[in-house]
Amino acid sequence: MIKAQVLDEAALERALTRISHEILERNGGAAALVFVGLRTRGVTLAQRLAERIAAIDGTKVPVGTLDITLYRDDLGLKTDQPVVRGTDIPFPIKGKTVILVDDVLFTGRSIRAALDALIDLGRPKMIQLAVLIDRGHRELPIRPDYVGKNLPTSRRESVAVRLKEHDGEDRVVIEAPEEG
C-alpha cells in the first residue's frame, strides 16, 4: 500500500541533474570516471547519470553492471537463495574513479558487498557512492557522496524507486508494511 509520494517525475529528474553536476564539479570533469550500477535500478540510474554527463560535458562515461549476490553477508540466513544475474563490467576499473550507483541506501550492507566485489575486479583510484534515496538506519560505517534525497523512514516501511524502464513511471514512494 502506498503511503506517501516522495519524489515525482520532475523532482527525480532534477535530483539526477544536480547529482550529475556535483559529480563533475567534485572530480574536475568526467575524464577518469566510470559508473557501476547495482542491479537492477542502480544500473538504470547510472545510465541516466551517464546520459546527463554526456549532455553537460560531452564525455561518454562507461556504465557497468554489478551483481552483489555472491558477496552478500546473509547467504545461508535466508531460506530462499537469491538469483545470480551476473556482473558485467566490460572495462578496466584499475586506476579509475568509480561512481557506484544504487537506488536506495539503507543498512549499507549492499554497499559493503559491492565494495568487496569491485575490489576483486581491480584496484580503482577511488570509489564514490551516489544514491537516489538515503533512508537512514545504517548498520555499517558507510556514507554516500551524492544523495538525491534524504528521507527519514521507519524501519518497517519500504521505499520503492519506480523507474520508467522497469515500472512504467518515474517516482519514489513510501510503502506501508503489509497488515497482519
Partner: protein, 313 residues
C-alpha cells in the same frame, strides 16, 4: 523461482523451471572464469568432498575448480588412494566423511542409485557426478548451457544422440533434460547399443547415421567403451567406426552447415569422431568443458548456499 532441493541426483526429477534456474545461474557465474582473480567469497567456510569411485579427470577437476573459485574447501577422495580399497562399504565411508561435517558430497559410483542412497542417509547435500548407466545430471546441464549459448534458445531444437545409448548416463540425463525443455531427440546406434523400449522416453530411433544427423541442430556423439567389444555387442572397433564414426565427409554430405558437434569426452579419436571433426569448426567440445565449471559452480552455489537441510532418514 528458488532452489528447494537438498541434492542434485537426476535430471528426471527436475522440472523445466529448475533446469532453467541452474543454466541461468551458470551463465551468470561464467564471468568469474574470465577474471584476473578467479575467486568470489560466496562459499567461504563451506566444505565440499569429491568422492569418486570411478576414474575421472574432467568431472572431478571441474567440481574442484568450481568449488575453489567459490572459495569453498574441496577435498578429494579417490577409490584408489583411500580406505575404499580396504573393503569399507560406500555407506560407511560416507558416514565417516559426514562426521567431518562437509556441506556437499559429490559422488561418482559404478552402481545406479548410489548417489540417491547416500542422499537418503546424509544430512549434507549430495551431487550425483555419475551413477552407473543411470544419470549424470551436471553433464546434461552443461550440454544444455552450451547449446543455448550457441543457438540462443533450446525450445524446438532437434538433436541426434549417436553411439552407445544403452550404457550411457550422459544420454539418459540429456534425453530427460532435452525433452523437458521442448527439444526433439533422435537416438542412433547399432541395435545392440540401443535400449529396448527407448521410445517410451519420447525419442525417435534411427539405425543409420546419415538419417539420424540430417537436418538436426546438434549432434551429440557418445564415447564407445572398449568393453562393449569384448562383451560381443559390436563386432570390432573398425566396423563400428565405419558405420557410426562421424567423419568430415559424412558431416558435409548429410548435416546442416550450422550443426553443433558435441562429445562428453574423453574422445576416442578415429572411432566415434575423426580428428578433423573433433577439432573442426562445428565442434563445441572445449566449450562444453569450460561450461562444465560454470554449471558446477551453479550447482554448488544452489546446494551449499542455501539452508535447505533435511533430517537424515
Amino acid at each position: 523461482m528458488a532452489w528447494k532441493r537438498k541434492d542434485l541426483l537426476t535430471i528426471q526429477e527436475l522440472d523445466p523451471a529448475e533446469i532453467t534456474l541452474v543454466i541461468d545461474t551458470a551463465a551468470s557465474l561464467r564471468e568469474i572464469g574470465g577474471r584476473e582473480i578467479k575467486k568470489v567469497p560466496t562459499l567461504r567456510g563451506k566444505t565440499i568432498v569429491n568422492l569418486f569411485y570411478e576414474p575421472s579427470t574432467r568431472t572431478r577437476t571441474s567440481f574442484e575448480i568450481a568449488g575453489k573459485w567459490l572459495s569453498a574447501d574441496v577435498i578429494n577422495f579417490a577409490a584408489s588412494t583411500s580406505s575404499i580399497g580396504k573393503g569399507e562399504t560406500l555407506l560407511d565411508t560416507a558416514r565417516n566423511i559426514e562426521a567431518m561435517s562437509p556441506d556437499v558430497v559429490v559422488v561418482r559410483h559404478s552402481s545406479a542409485g548410489a548417489a540417491e542412497m547416500l542422499a537418503r542417509h546424509l544430512r549434507c547435500g549430495v551431487v550425483n557426478a555419475g551413477d552407473g548407466a543411470h544419470e549424470h545430471p551436471t553433464q546434461a546441464l552443461l550440454d544444455l548451457l552450451t547449446i543455448r549459448e550457441r543457438k540462443g534458445h533450446l525450445d524446438g531444437l532437434q538433436v541426434a544422440i549417436v553411439g552407445d545409448i544403452a550404457h550411457s548416463r550422459v544420454a539418459r540425463s540429456n534425453i530427460h533434460g532435452m525433452r523437458k525443455l521442448g527439444m526433439t531427440v533422435t537416438v542412433a546406434g547399432p541395435p545392440t547399443l540401443i535400449p529396448p523400449h527407448v521410445q517410451e522416453f519420447g525419442v525417435k530411433v534411427s539405425h543409420r547415421l546419415e538419417d539420424a544427423i540430417r537436418d538436426v541442430d546438434v549432434i551429440m556423439m557418445l564415447r564407445l567403451q572398449q568393453e562393449r567389444m569384448t562383451a560381443g555387442l559390436i563386432p570390432s572397433l573398425r566396423e563400428y567406426s565405419r558405420y557410426w564414426g562421424l567423419t568430415l565427409d559424412r558431416l558435409r554430405a548429410s548435416a546442416r552447415a550450422d550443426v553443433l558437434i558435441m562429445h562428453p569426452g574423453p574422445v576416442n579419436r578415429g572411432v566415434e569422431l575423426s580428428p578433423e571433426v573433433a577439432d573442426g569448426p562445428y565442434s563445441v567440445i572445449l566449450e562444453q568443458t569450460g561450461n562444465g565449471v560454470a554449471v558446477r559452480m551453479a550447482v554448488l552455489f544452489l546446494l551449499a548456499g542455501t539452508r535447505v537441510t533435511q533430517e537424515a532418514a
